[in-house]
């Protein structure tokens, strides 16, 4: 009975509960929303101005390459924004990263500012990632 109880306890404390964090920022005259879901060993990040999920990329570091592996699981492969953002965040955080970059990709400057905003949040609130 003890072993069962102990085994059960270890199951309960094996990982933290999923937590969700929202923030937003006005960047280049538009409000950009960020939604982070913290998971065990990784996180899901959605970026957008309307509540659409238009793509999803997954990235994680590999011991065989200094550049994290990345793949697009939803969306137009000609849009490289989700993959490259996921890759850079995976490298920075050493975690498995899911990214949906659901903003128009017409302005390359926007992408840079968005990424800087994410990095700022990572530094201010690392507990949410």
């Amino acid at each position: 009975v003890d072993a069962v109880v102990n085994g059960h306890t270890s199951l309960m404390i094996a990982f933290d509960a999923i937590s969700v964090h929202n923030f937003s920022e006005k960047i280049l005259e538009q409000v950009v929303h960020f939604h982070v879901m913290k998971l065990s060993g990784g996180f899901f990040l959605w970026v957008g101005s309307t509540p659409v999920l238009s793509n999803l990329a997954v990235s994680m570091s590999s011991k065989y390459d200094s550049v994290p592996l990345s793949t697009l699981v939803i969306g137009d492969p000609s849009n490289t924004a989700p993959n490259s953002l996921a890759q850079r965040l995976a490298k920075k955080t050493k975690k498995q990263v899911f990214v949906s970059y659901s903003l128009p990709v017409t302005d390359s400057n926007l992408g840079l500012l968005v990424e800087n905003r994410i990095k700022k949040e990572l530094e201010l609130h690392p507990e949410h990632f």
Binding site: L11, A17, E25, H33, M37, L39, W46, L53, V73, F98
Partner: protein
Amino acid sequence: MSSPAPIIRSRQTEKEVNGISTQVACTEFSNYIFVVLTQYGKIGTLISVTPDSRSNDITTPTLSTKVLLGKDEPLTHVCAKNLATFVSQEAGNRPVLLGLALKDSSIDSIKQMKEIIRSCQVW
């Protein structure tokens, strides 16, 4: 720092299913309902559950499942369809993106998990 209300609605909970800690997080997008159902704390296998285009408005559409990330095995499709069909239907036939990481996929557990997903309704 500007902080208007989030435009993405989400709910999450944690319950025990047959003694195993089980977490659910549901997130609403206009074109997807994103459901994470996990006993490992991770997204795990990622499956899209999509209603087939309706031939008419009277019958409820059938659903297609596709494993986007992870091991593509028959049981995954069965579980995904079982767990996500009601979500898709209730959300006005919206596609469901399902993250599944289960230690126990017995019928009894799946039934309980459906109720946990229902308790996190965002659609």
